[in-house]
């Protein structure tokens, strides 16, 4: 995880510097906010990964000399198929149509979204999916 976290921390450092320069040369708050936000976007996951790297050390995928066998064991549980992403997507579709065309799309949209969230969560608990 070390290189991974260094990339994200690099993002944080770069935008930290640009943000400081930008603020002190323009005193413009919109752009500064975005730059600070971007800095945080790198900082939070970057330091999280670094934390885990410290605890776990190098994983097989981080080591030059790892053999394929070291990856043995359960990788992850993957769903083969699921209807819920589609239902959720159609719910989101109807929701935006409600904003453009009027409220009669709103209630079916909410219905679909809630169903999909419940259905998807139940599926995860049954199958251990991500």
């Amino acid at each position: 995880m070390r290189n991974e976290s260094l990339i994200l921390l690099g993002v944080a450092i770069f935008f930290g510097i640009v943000g400081v320069v930008y603020w002190f040369t323009s005193y413009e708050d919109g752009g500064t906010t975005m730059l600070v936000g971007t800095c945080l976007l790198g900082l939070l996951p970057g330091s999280y990964y670094l934390f885990w790297h410290r605890r776990m050390g190098f994983r097989p995928e981080d080591r030059d000399d790892a053999t394929i066998e070291e990856g043995a064991g359960e990788v992850e549980t993957f769903p083969s198929s699921s209807i819920w992403p589609f239902v959720l997507g159609m719910g989101a579709f109807m929701l935006v149509l409600a904003f453009a065309f009027g409220m009669w799309f709103f209630f079916p949209a909410v219905g679909l979204i809630v169903t999909a969230l419940v259905g998807g969560t139940a599926e995860s608990r049954r199958g251990g999916h991500v």
């Binding site: 991974e4 413009e28 976007l41 990964y49 066998e69 990856g71 699921s82 992403p85 159609m90 991500v130």
Partner: protein, 577 residues
Amino acid sequence: MTDVITPTTTGDGAHGPSVVGVARHEHEEHGPTGLLKWVTSTDHKVIGMSYMITSLVLFYFAGIMALVLRIQLATPSSSLVSFAQYNELFTMHGSLMLYLFAGPFAFGGLANYIVPLQVGAPDMAFPRLNALSYWLYLSGSITMMMGFLVAGGAAEFGWVAYAPLSNATNSPGVGPDIWIMALVLTGFSAIFTGVNLVATIFYLRAPGMTMFRMPIFTWNMLVTAILILIAFPVLTGALVMLFCDRHFGTHIFSVQGGGSPNLWQNLFWFFGHPEVYILALPYFGIATEIFPVFSRKPVFGYKGMVFATLSIAALSTGVWAHHMFTTGVVLLPFFSLLSLLIAVPTGIKFFNWIGTLWRGQLQFSAAMLFSIGFLFAFLMGGVTGVMLASPPIDFFTHDTYFVVAHFHQVLFGTAVFAGFAGLYYWYPKFFGRMLRENLGKWHFWLMFIGFWVTFMPQYIVGLLGMPRRVAIYPSYLGWQSYNIISTVGAFIIAASFAVLLWNLWISWRQPVPCGDNPWDAHTLEWFTTSPPPHHNYSHLPPIRSERPTWDYHHPDSPAIAHGEGRPPRGDKVLVSS
């Protein structure tokens, strides 16, 4: 329907290239079939393919709109379309090309399909989120196209929707609302795909596939994904604010209520400039995969490539305000310095591409020709881009056809040349069959010629002063002849895309099977079967350089790789394919 992926050892790890079996998916055959199978699929390959097909269809739509625009411009005062229709058409052409084709084709389509294969993963990290991305993208695209059907027509404010042009008084009607909502949907879809790619690349690599052994395509997609996570939330937020201004009485972007139209530009270009690189980097990645394979050499300057990509990404977000040179509220020196600096890593990439080709055994396949076409087009677009980055020139050419020619050379050079290079290159992987090479070459040459004929005259007519986004122009300024040439070029490009359609059709109807690895390629995706099985790999080769497949198939040609890549020993073992 759950598949637990459990790699199990079948080879002897101590001796040369061992092969590992993966216990697999007993449930596959019992799943849903037909349309339901497609709708419920969470396989990254199915989703990636759906993305590619959808975005290609939208590319053809946008191309037809471009032809209408060009016919209109061939005569100074044509009445083919009205002013309003002209505005609708260029807005939709630009929006479709940028938001619904160029980005999703590479990022949702190719990356979705190829990145998990290249790092040796069974699927994307979050398969259901991946499926959701596609459904949001599809419904966003349908929403965008619906703009033509509603009363008042589609949005007319250009792909950048500048305030105050985009407020409720200047752009009334449902068309603009639909445009905004379409981009909210596709924005979320891009963000979700970004999260997914980062997680896949960070967590699902095969053992030995260190960060600095990942193919450059995967690297570029990783950097693109991070850029998306930086830029798209800002766009989506800005769109929501715009919608509130239009409907809920807020005054975020209007002067009357104490807001500021410049804020829109500030927000928009914070997205918009990185977006240019979000559109470019994946295509750089494609070209970087193709050059080494058809030069039969490893890529030149692997690490330089990676660091160039990283610094392009960083600078691109730093330079956002250079688009506002003529609005005069920003710090000119700071931003023009950053925009000029971006030429340095871009130059490094160029140098490395040439270095890869240099003294290689070049094979001019269709994929290779398209990649070389990309080099030429991008070089031209890059040179004029550096010109535009200097404020005096920008003041002079701002909003003329010079700019139109510039961004078309860049976008067409990347998204179309490199994008179709990728299609020709990976098509055998997708289907286990070839596209017809000779038709591919026809496609290339027609497109290459049409490209220059279309866009070179636009530089000239731009320098002569012709403004962009006009449906008619004065006939006495000598602009017409250039416009006619440009229109003829557009039809040559259109003809080339008819050739592509024919190629797709004939290659489908009369298949030429090609085995798993027809190009003798380098990277991991060519190790598995074509098309890859459900969950991708039943065996993996040892990963000892950034060319594992090549090392495996050429045990005695030492991998002249970078870093430590030492060639595997030549024991013949349980072969996969």
